[in-house]
Symmetry: C2
DNA sequence: CTGAAAGCGCTAACAT
DNA sequence: ATGTTAGCGCTTTCAG
């Protein structure tokens, strides 16, 4: 609390303007409540003069609405690209909401959501963390507006997912056209459901185009893990494609091949995932799979802006992924 | 608001436990208020049974404390930011607070802070954005606990800054020892005060060690801007050091030299800033200047945890920067 | 140790 | 169009 002075309340404003609290409230409410123009002006003037800012706690006690939206993640780096994170916060602010960031390290942290009253009472929650199951999500928040963005979805509920199979198939077709016959598949966390689905898509498309998976390894999406793994293996690079489920791992593949084979492996035989900045810079430059972040966020915002869903109405939206050839 | 049911209030809990609201309140308060053990147990039990979670708005209306901390940034564009914020959010949560992320695109957005009542009423604000001047910071928030982390500080007030001159001098000494006589200095935003200070440190140290600044360019910290700039210039690489005020620009310098001079420029003649992940990976690997993020955050948390500051007491803490030689 | 009652600051009925 | 009044759910005196 401010030590120097007490904060003006609506009552102070009303007094200064010479009206009742209700009139003052209506004048400042924004919604076009009936009020005399001159009084409205006097109230606005008085509020400005006192530097009045409404107490949100009193307001929310009545509205039951906070104007806050929770973003729930495992780590921030989960959000594969900063651009997404940055754009998302910006979009949330542009619809007049604020962003509450919740970081979950493990299942143990989930209970804290309920224990943290403000988080529990957000207007909506965006779930990026795969630690939260679609069934339990509704119990964690006071609001029904819980949007699953972690690839999981409950029958009843809201979600935006990425159709990854599409971009993956396009990548495999590209490999096929370039006569790649054999593949190394560097994957991320084995326990992740989305990762499992992703790997399945790779396997199906590769089977379809006659590409053999010779090595399938689970790393942890990171540069270091992939580099460590590759360093322990000798690859026969004839007709080989290296497919990675993150751009960071693809960077490791590029570095590994550069050192090991002095670029004998065509750089284009390495495929990343996420379409980050790094797939485009000079020292790396590999093809990758991604999606339109703007489109993804637009769908989220669309759900956020929908005032009312029919009781239990489900909305499962999806963004197509895409192959980015370099 | 949840559509299916009404939420239990303290009154419901009290009724179920067969006690008064006050007793129920005291039982759940956490602070050791006098109360009979059996009643306390009954209340706790009743609360659990109903799945009671206190309404934070009613509580805050009395406490004037939200348990929320605002992080105010321009944007989150930098990888160095990611690691920092991830750690910071985790630390904030570990002291039982929640994180409100506020993104400022320009000065115009500053007024929105006051207009957004919840942001205005946070328990503390961490100012990373350099759009906010130390003089105006106290007027934007209801709390006195506004910590400037943007390199600016008011005489009265709280701040944690990085002593960048230290790491910069170490870098220049390294260059001197490696017989570098001439320098290109790739800087960031010209309008930034911290950047101005940083450039000054480079100039002073270089003057001291007899290194000539032949080219001083303002880019925008990004890979693209630096690469574009370098591509338009021909460098005489004899005894040349390329000093960049961001790792991203140093990456561009590495790529530029690799293509232009086929690595004739020793890679060690390129100096980055921020000690990001990228200064350590195979394809780049350059020396850089950084600081301990943990130490920085520990100081912030220390300020956050200090209950009361003497009226108007100032606290200006500082973290030493360091040269990371690769 | 407990309960009744006041009140935090605001909004929304409801009578003027 | 305006003022009065009754809460929103909680904590905290203040008497018992």
């Amino acid at each position: 609390m401010k030590s120097n002075s007490s904060v003006p309340t609506l009552e102070d404003v009303a007094k200064l303007a010479g009206v009742s609290k209700s009139v003052a409230s209506r004048a400042l409410s924004g919604k076009n409540r009936p009020i005399a123009a001159d009084k409205k002006a006097r109230v606005t003037e008085a509020a400005a003069q006192l530097g009045y800012v409404a107490n949100p706690f009193a307001q929310s006690l009545i509205n039951q609405s906070t104007g806050m939206i929770a973003i729930v993640v495992n780590h921030i780096s989960d959000i594969s690209d900063l651009a997404l994170f940055d754009l998302l916060i910006q979009s949330i602010q542009s619809i007049g909401k604020q962003t509450l960031f919740v970081r979950l390290r493990s299942e143990k942290d989930i209970a804290d959501i309920k224990r943290s009253p403000f988080v529990h009472r957000v207007d909506a929650a965006l779930i990026f963390s795969d630690l939260i199951e679609p069934e339990e999500a509704p119990h964690l928040f006071y609001t029904d507006k819980v949007i699953m963005l972690n690839g999981k979805k409950a029958d009843a509920g809201l979600s935006v997912t990425i159709n990854e199979a599409l971009g993956i198939e396009q990548a495999i077709i590209n490999a096929y056209e370039r006569s790649i016959k054999r593949a190394v598949l560097l994957c991320g966390r084995k326990t992740s459901i989305t990762e499992k689905q992703r790997v399945l898509s790779y396997q199906q498309s590769m089977a379809k185009y006659g590409i053999d998976i010779e090595l399938l390894a689970y790393c942890d999406y990171s540069y270091e893990s992939a580099l460590a793994y590759l360093s322990n293996h000798t690859l026969d690079i004839q007709n080989l494609g290296i497919f990675c489920t993150s751009d960071a791992m693809a960077m490791a593949a590029v570095d590994y091949c550069r050192e090991q084979y002095r670029d004998v492996v065509e750089r284009q035989a390495i495929y990343g995932f996420d379409n980050t900045f790094f797939s485009q810079i000079r020292s790396y430059f590999f093809s990758t799979i991604g999606y339109s972040k703007q489109e993804f966020i637009d769908l989220i915002i669309q759900l956020l802006k929908t005032e009312k869903f029919e009781n239990g109405e489900a909305r499962h939206l999806s963004v197509d992924s895409e192959f980015y050839f370099r």
